[in-house]
């Protein structure tokens, strides 16, 4: 079962079952590192219909380990799309009204060019030959996709966590193409603590002997243990102490007493091990290195002379930021500093902080207050733009 999933995931990295657009040598992707990625491909999904005015497109940006399958079954796990609570027919982001686009980011592992994709020049997976990509590169690739789809202006760009970083990058670099921006549970830069957690994850992957200097696919091995440990450490940061206590406390796992050993005595240990092991079946270890690095490098203010407000100067994009009280990965203060910068830039901005003990992961869960905020924001933005049919 696990091997079968890994086999499917490997295929998806080059021949995705979703839609895919391949850009040839005439359309290279220029990267922030100064390197050029060419040829390259973007795997994506769409839901709903683009209207004749091409005014109802919503771009969803996925988080660190997300993918393009936002509102349909994941081909590797068979599980529902990662944001189906929010997106679909009759849902808050109603695919009867909106044309929803979600692409796998550059550097990802489900069909957009990434380290597990076959490099056409060598016939082998890119591995660490893949240049480092940034949030800016991911967005530049998405711009090419949106151009390919013939869309000038997106009604909305929406995403949480790393997806929220892409939203901010979109709004900053392409303000005239973004009518509304919804960055959720995110920050304008990755904090030192967040970089630290990512470094722990990367070191765990690279310390696994099966990583083979990044050439594990050709070697026929997989750095499962290292990647699982990385996921376990990261997963803790997506939750909160209160939620962990509420769900697991100090409860024992299928046993009446401590075993005086290093087996998973506690439910929380068993839960984390399960999270780690199920992750390695669906995610490429090298891709995890690239994704975490892209987040670490993100610092929107630094790109604008240290003044975040300058990243949004003169924007007409309408913003709605959302944070969660128990999110310690991207605490409310991160969102608030973006709000202050947007205020200083004279932008239209709403900011909703939602009370929950579910931590960073709350943005992926059924949070009624999140949904009513998104719904109210999008409808009023549609009215403001004279798109009554979307309101």
């Amino acid at each position: 079962m696990a091997a079968e999933r890994a086999r499917i995931a490997n295929n998806e990295a080059t021949e995705p079952s979703s839609k895919v657009v391949r850009f040839g040598a005439d359309m290279p992707l220029k990267l922030d590192s100064g390197k050029v990625l060419s040829p390259f491909q973007i795997a994506y999904q769409t839901y709903g219909e683009l209207n004749s005015a091409r005014s109802n497109a919503v771009l969803i940006c996925h988080a660190l380990t997300g993918d393009q399958h936002v509102a349909s079954n994941n081909p590797v796990t068979g599980k529902p799309g990662w944001w189906e609570v929010l997106i679909g027919p009759g849902k808050v982001i109603d695919t009867n009204r909106f044309f929803v686009i979600c692409s796998n980011v550059i550097g990802g592992c489900l069909g957009s060019t990434g380290p597990a994709t076959i490099n056409p020049q060598t016939g082998k997976p890119w591995g660490l030959d893949m240049p480092i990509v940034t949030i800016g590169d991911m967005v530049r690739a998405q711009v090419m996709l949106v151009d390919h789809l013939g869309i000038d202006r997106l009604f909305s760009v929406i995403g949480g966590s790393m997806g929220g970083m892409q939203v901010l990058q979109w709004a900053s670099a392409y303000p005239e193409r973004v009518h509304t921006a919804l960055p959720i549970a995110t920050g304008a830069r990755h904090s030192s603590q967040n970089i630290a957690f990512h470094e722990v994850g990367r070191q765990a992957v690279m310390a696994d002997p099966d990583w083979r200097g990044g050439r594990y696919i050709e070697a026929g091995t997989r750095p499962e243990k290292g990647l699982a440990v990385a996921r376990m450490a990261a997963h803790i940061t997506y939750l909160s102490e209160a939620a962990l206590h509420r769900k697991f406390g100090r409860n024992l796992q299928d046993r009446a007493a401590l075993t005086f050993g290093f087996d998973a005595d506690f439910q929380i240990e068993s839960y984390l091990r399960h999270q780690g092991m199920s992750f390695v079946d669906r995610f490429d270890a090298n891709s995890y290195l690239y994704m975490t690095r892209a987040m670490d490098y993100f610092d929107l203010a630094a790109d604008h002379g240290g003044r975040l407000a300058d990243a949004f100067r003169g924007t007409s994009t309408r913003f709605c930021l959302v944070s969660f009280t128990s999110d310690w990965l991207f605490p409310t203060e991160e969102s608030r500093s973006i709000v202050h910068a947007l205020n200083a830039a004279g932008a239209s901005v709403s900011f909703v902080e939602i009370e929950t003990d579910r931590g960073h992961d709350a943005f992926l869960l059924d949070e009624p207050e999140l949904f009513s905020a998104i719904d109210g924001f999008l409808r009023s933005a549609a009215r403001a733009r004279g798109l009554e049919e979307l309101a």
């Binding site: 202050h340 200083a344 909703v352 009370e355």
Partner: protein, 205 residues
């Protein structure tokens, strides 16, 4: 509180009357957005709200208003000079820690500031102190002294003095009775100070 068929609260209606159509408006202490919703509907303003209670902000955003959680005492500094045509501070001045600084910020951010506040010189307030010797608890000031959010009460005359201190010009002013109706437009300050239950000022600097 919501915009019902009878329109908004009378004091909010009075504030709205000062505002030109399609103006840029910042409502500081916007609550659940009643005034902003009315202004957007009736005057097609480009409205923004700041509200200290997160519940109020979330309600504003859910009803399609642009609002952020923020504190008048600390968060107004982030707004650019003259970024708005009107900055409204409705029934909030008395709850700020530093009313003078807040007023300065309003005058900096807005071409005009509209400030409404309860008048502590109102005769019922005076009577309560004079005869009962107790801090007044009235319909409009329902809190006891120990749990009130209103920490900086002033009278109309006090407020006029503050306006002079900060160099604000009073463009327009009115005192309202208990029902929110404007009283005696041409009455002297002392009359307003005694019979005005609240006051609305339009200031410019």
């Amino acid at each position: 509180m919501s915009v019902n068929s009878n329109g908004p609260r009378i004091d909010l209606q009075l504030i709205a009357d000062f505002i030109a159509p399609r103006a840029r408006v910042l409502d500081v202490g916007c609550g659940d957005g009643e005034l902003l919703a009315y202004l957007e509907q009736d005057k097609q303003v480009d409205g923004r709200g700041v509200e200290i209670s997160q519940r109020g902000v979330n309600e504003c955003v859910a009803r399609g208003l642009s609002a952020i959680q923020g504190d008048a005492d600390t968060d107004l500094v982030f707004y650019p000079d003259k970024g708005f045509d009107y900055v409204i501070l409705s029934q909030t001045l008395q709850a700020t820690r530093n009313p003078r600084e807040v007023l300065e910020q309003l005058l900096r951010i807005g071409e005009r500031a509209i400030v409404s506040f309860p008048n502590f010189g109102y005769w019922r307030v005076r009577l309560s102190l004079l005869f009962r010797g107790r801090m007044p608890v009235t319909r409009d000031l329902p809190y006891s002294w120990y749990d009130t959010p209103n920490i900086h009460f002033c009278t109309i005359r006090d407020f006029v003095a503050l306006c002079e201190e900060v160099g604000a010009t009073v463009e327009s002013a009115m005192a309202l009775d208990r029902e929110g109706h404007s009283i005696g437009v041409s009455m002297p300050w002392w009359f307003w100070n005694l019979f005005g239950q609240q006051a609305v000022f339009v200031l410019k600097r």
